[in-house]
Symmetry: C2
Subunit: 256 residues, 2 copies
């Protein structure tokens, strides 16, 4: 019975895609069947795991807007036990194309329902927005994981995201839980980074993962090779951070 | 006769707001009258220049969706010669609220036309998306400045943005020019950063500014103090980078 986790934060560049790819890969390497759904028209998760889509590839746009069969969109990646449903630039138009469709917030939920039992965990990589596609992901999800970059603007955005999550919990997805906050791109030389970590650990009432994801050059390089950092350089600090995060994530979810 | 420059890139976290705030402040400190329009519901440019909006403050949402008087929305900032039209979270709903409005792509152009002659330069900070609000900004603008972070995903996104710019140039804003690409968050210790700089300088046919904006802790700290880096720490590398960028920008625009 697959658990669905949306990885969301409307602040841009905070590490949503990097967390989606590398947490999913680490959980897969620990033996679980894992699916990434790329719901960002930039399709960074798709290219970050090395998937190059052909013209006729069915992607998340075809599923959400045209109701195609989700099983047809699944693509295996180089990482054992890790599949992906790719995205494409077509998704840019989905907000307006769905504007007058009934139950438009539930399109992704219908897609996910058709395939989630094939996996132990499904991670949905969200785009940096609080628009319809992100609402769809939060409606399809059992929980939401929020990457927060160790920078000022990212901390500011967390409050706004919480408001959106409560709106969803009070209406279209009452069962939506908060999986937790993951602190990303931590640079121990920066005063601001230390400040954000202590602010988050002190004031955020939701679960904050112990594992800090440090800024690490191999993490930034690995998507250019189309590989999660665990395949690109398993001994790197980044790979170790994501393995620890996966272990923490599984401890929380498997020991229930 | 104010020139209007949109600062856009749908990739998140590449330095759009940081470039908008600090380039605008540097140009203002060099004696020009400058306005920032914050068109991102995250309102990072608004908080980054230290503006705290009251309940009744008219912001970009009120102008674009409800047609209020743009002059009423202008707020002076601590930097001499620099004003801002603030944003708010209300803007999240604008895409859908304008979905069936006639000429919805021209709302921002109407706003800008009413106030641009009060300034030498107007910079529009865009949100990380290619949706209706960004289309509005590209339609209102004379040119577009594209921050490209010295990272893999950011380089990937440039091509997609160029497609959108051409669509706009071939339809609703034939006069839209490309002001240029600004390379941001350069870290000379990273191989990837050097790679992106050489790729951009070699393959991008548009103008690429000579000034590289280096990663600099004072640049990251300054928004938490509500100040451009030039006021926060004028001697920092970041402040010097933005002063150089402003000089380069003015040389291109004033010597025509
Ligand atoms: N721990 C890290 N160390 C080094 N670089 C990182 C790390 N995490 C992310 N990055 C880099 O920072 C940039 C932003 O990360 P990423 O693209 O994952 O953020 P995002 O939140 O998905 O962005 P968007 O809002 O555009 O979807 C990318 O270039 C990525 O490679
Ligand atoms: N040169 C720099 N040195 C250090 N930090 C920087 C620099 N430029 C930007 N930053 C920091 O990186 C983060 C991302 O920058 P910024 O918020 O300006 O990007 P953006 O493109 O506006 O993001 P969004 O897509 O969310 O609008 C911010 O926390 C900012 O303070
Ligand atoms: Mg992403
Ligand atoms: Mg911004």
């Amino acid at each position: 019975m697959g658990k669905v986790i949306a990885i969301a934060n409307q602040k841009g560049g905070v590490g949503k895609t990097t967390t989606a790819i590398n947490l999913a890969a680490a959980v897969a390497l620990l033996g679980k069947k894992v699916l990434i759904i790329d719901s960002d028209p930039q399709a960074n998760a798709t290219s970050g795991v090395g998937v190059v889509t052909e013209e006729d590839q069915i992607d998340i746009y075809d599923l959400v807007v045209h109701g195609e069969d989700p099983k047809e969109a699944i693509v295996a990646t180089e990482t054992p036990n890790l599949d992906i449903i790719p995205s494409s630039i077509d998704l840019v138009g989905a907000d307006l194309e769905l504007a007058s469709v009934l139950q438009r917030e539930f399109r992704m939920k219908t897609v996910v329902a058709a395939i989630k039992d094939l996996y132990d965990y499904v991670f949905i990589d969200c785009l940096p927005s609080l628009g319809l596609i992100t609402i769809n992901a939060l409606t399809a999800a059992d929980s939401v994981l929020v990457p927060v970059q160790c920078e000022f603007f990212s901390l500011e955005g967390y409050g706004k995201l919480k408001n959106t999550i409560s709106l969803i919990q009070n209406s279209i997805n009452p069962d939506l839980k908060i999986e937790g906050v993951v602190l990303t791109m931590y640079d121990k030389r920066l005063r601001m980074a230390k400040l954000v970590v202590s602010e988050v650990r002190e004031h955020v009432t939701d679960h904050v993962f112990d594992t800090l994801i440090h800024r690490n050059s191999k993490v930034g390089e690995s998507p250019s090779m189309g590989q999660p950092v665990l395949l690109y350089d398993a001994a790197s600090k980044g790979a170790i951070n994501f393995m620890n995060l996966a272990a923490e994530f599984l401890y929380l979810n498997e020991s229930e």
